[in-house]
């Protein structure tokens, strides 16, 4: 089911001035419910603009944004309520922390929603659990935490709002591999439990291959490709033309195929590659 959808959306920055820049150019794309959709594209292709249109921070110059089939920018629509339904985690969200303790900072969103104390408390626990932070950190000042921990607190602040659509803009940028895995793994676990819609913006094809169900590829403000990970990664040449890459393992399978090994090329995780190679070699050999 389509959860959130852009229909012929164009967005221009500073229209009518010499600095006018078209960030999105008549793009139509839909994001499916109960799935993690990866949004990829070259730097400056309009990804960050697109996600801000989804929660009403920006209003399209032309076209419509639909949430559950309703125009989000219709007259009289409560924008605050919309933002509680469509949660957005910005790039480097750790720079938005301001409260005295971790718990209070996570509670900022739920408090704005007008939830009661017990519910807020319950949501703080839930959010901390999914981002993998220990409950003992609740009374600590967020400014005393490490960079990676701050990032998790900031993400927890949005998770605690329990949005129907969760959008994360480069949530793992600048983290080490284990930090990436914990944050993205937590988001995946969260999605699988809540069965909501998650949109994940990232540059890392490896992360996309591991955590996303579907992919949306953008190019210069337009939709380039859309489909499951397997469908998109199978078109390696097209991705390269956009200035993007395919996961290393997909590239390896492509190289094997070119050398005459009859492997499938729509493979994008190491596990799948192992299965495929074992299939070709006739299963694991037991000594």
């Amino acid at each position: 089911m389509k959860k959130i959808e852009l229909d012929g959306v164009t967005y221009r920055y500073s229209p009518g001035t010499p600095f006018c820049k078209t960030a999105l150019d008549g793009i139509s794309v839909a994001f499916e419910e109960n799935k993690i959709t990866g949004l990829i594209g070259h730097t400056g292709c309009g990804k960050s603009t697109l996600v801000q249109l989804l929660n009403g921070l920006l209003t399209p110059t032309a076209g419509t944004v639909f949430l559950d089939g309703e125009d989000v920018n219709r007259k009289g629509n409560d924008m605050r309520k919309l933002r509680f339904r469509v949660g957005l985690v910005f790039q480097y969200p750790e720079y938005q922390l301001f409260e005295e303790t971790v718990a209070e900072d996570i509670a900022y969103g739920p408090k704005n929603m007008g939830l009661d104390k017990e519910e807020i408390e319950r949501r703080i626990e839930m959010a901390l659990h999914f981002v993998g932070l220990d409950g003992s950190l609740k009374k600590v000042s967020p400014f005393d935490l490490s960079g990676g921990q701050k990032r998790r607190v900031a993400i927890a602040g949005i998770l605690a709002m329990d949005p129907e659509v969760l959008i994360l803009d480069e949530p793992a940028a600048g983290l080490d591999p284990s930090g990436r895995e914990e944050i993205l793994g937590g988001i995946r676990a969260y999605q699988r439990e809540k069965k909501n819609t998650v949109i994940l913006v990232s540059h890392s094809m490896e992360d996309m291959a591991r955590y996303a169900d579907d992919l949306v590829v953008m190019r210069e403000g337009k939709l380039e490709m859309q489909g499951s990970c397997a469908e998109v990664f199978a078109q390696a040449e097209r991705l390269t033309a956009v200035g993007l890459d395919v996961p290393q393992i997909t590239r390896l399978m492509g190289a094997l195929k070119r050398r005459g090994v009859p492997v499938r090329t729509d493979i994008f995780t190491v596990e799948q590659a192992k299965e495929e190679i074992l299939r070709l070699t006739g299963g694991p050999r037991h000594a």
Binding site: R80, R83, F98
Partner: protein
């Protein structure tokens, strides 16, 4: 939104005025302001207006930009004009509106004051702020004030502070925009409620902003130390300011303009301020 505010009105170009030495431009703009204040009667005002128009043409800055710069002054202009028209006491009565009397001198005075304010703003901004990049401006200021070093005024440090402050204004504006959006996404409400509620709603924006300003300041200080920055002593510059003959022409032109204003004041008849 916040990005639309133009700070430091520098308008890039390559006109005669743009190429002038910043030191000369600073002195010339001071002389120009003095000349504007020396104007006493209709003819000297006419002269300074023509001179200002010539400067605008010379700078090749579009009229639209100049008018946009005058716009914030509109309120003050209207206010002073109305005030002068109604409350100036003169000899030749034009109209008697019972409560206030309007005199011919009052109208003249109001007109000349308005011309003075507009000339002041347009002329000095064309000579200085529109045609000089902030970096050149602080450079020029530092060089001009450098004699003060003899009496232990930290001139270089002041200039460096100015340069850094100017450099970071756009950065901080962008940062504020980002933080505001991030807090809006968490449901912060900046545009409703009473004064106290609105002030409180600013906390989630101001605290991250201050934290990031301190962080940036710290990073910058470390980066400067790493490159062995030790203040102005013995420091050389990449762009050396050198005065050429052409740089003096600007100064002399403005000087001549001032002289002409004084002479016109002396030898022309009519109403004088």
């Amino acid at each position: 939104m916040l990005k639309d505010i133009t700070l430091g009105q520098y308008f890039p170009g390559n006109s005669f005025l743009h190429r002038q030495d910043p030191r000369m431009k600073i002195i010339a703009s001071i002389l120009y302001i003095v000349a504007v204040f020396l104007c006493k009667n209709l003819f000297s005002f006419l002269f300074i207006t023509l001179f200002t128009v010539a400067l605008v043409l010379l700078s090749r800055i579009p009229m639209k930009v100049i008018l946009k710069g005058v716009k914030p002054l509109l309120f003050i202009l209207i206010f002073t004009t109305v005030y002068n028209v109604f409350f100036y006491q003169g000899e030749h009565l034009l109209a008697d509106l019972k409560i206030v009397k309007i005199y011919f001198e009052g109208v003249m005075f109001a007109l000349l004051m308005a011309v003075r304010i507009v000339c002041l703003l347009v002329g000095s901004s064309v000579i200085l702020t529109y045609t000089t990049s902030p970096i050149m401006l602080t450079d020029g200021l530092e060089r001009l004030l450098s004699p003060l070093r003899k009496i232990h005024v930290p001139v270089h440090e002041f200039a460096m502070m100015m340069t850094i402050a100017l450099r970071f204004i756009p950065t901080l504006i962008e940062e504020t925009d980002k933080i505001m959006n991030a807090q809006k996404a968490r449901g912060s409400d900046l545009s409703s409620g009473g004064l106290i509620r609105r002030a409180k709603a600013l906390i989630p924006i101001l605290i991250p902003l201050f934290v990031s300003a301190f962080r940036r300041a710290n990073d910058l200080a470390v980066a400067m130390e790493c490159r062995c920055y030790r203040g102005g002593n013995g420091r050389t510059r990449m762009t050396q300011l050198r005065l050429h003959a052409i740089d003096w022409t600007m100064l002399f032109t403005v000087l001549l303009c001032g002289g002409a204003v004084v002479i016109i004041n002396l030898y022309s008849p009519g109403f004088s301020v």
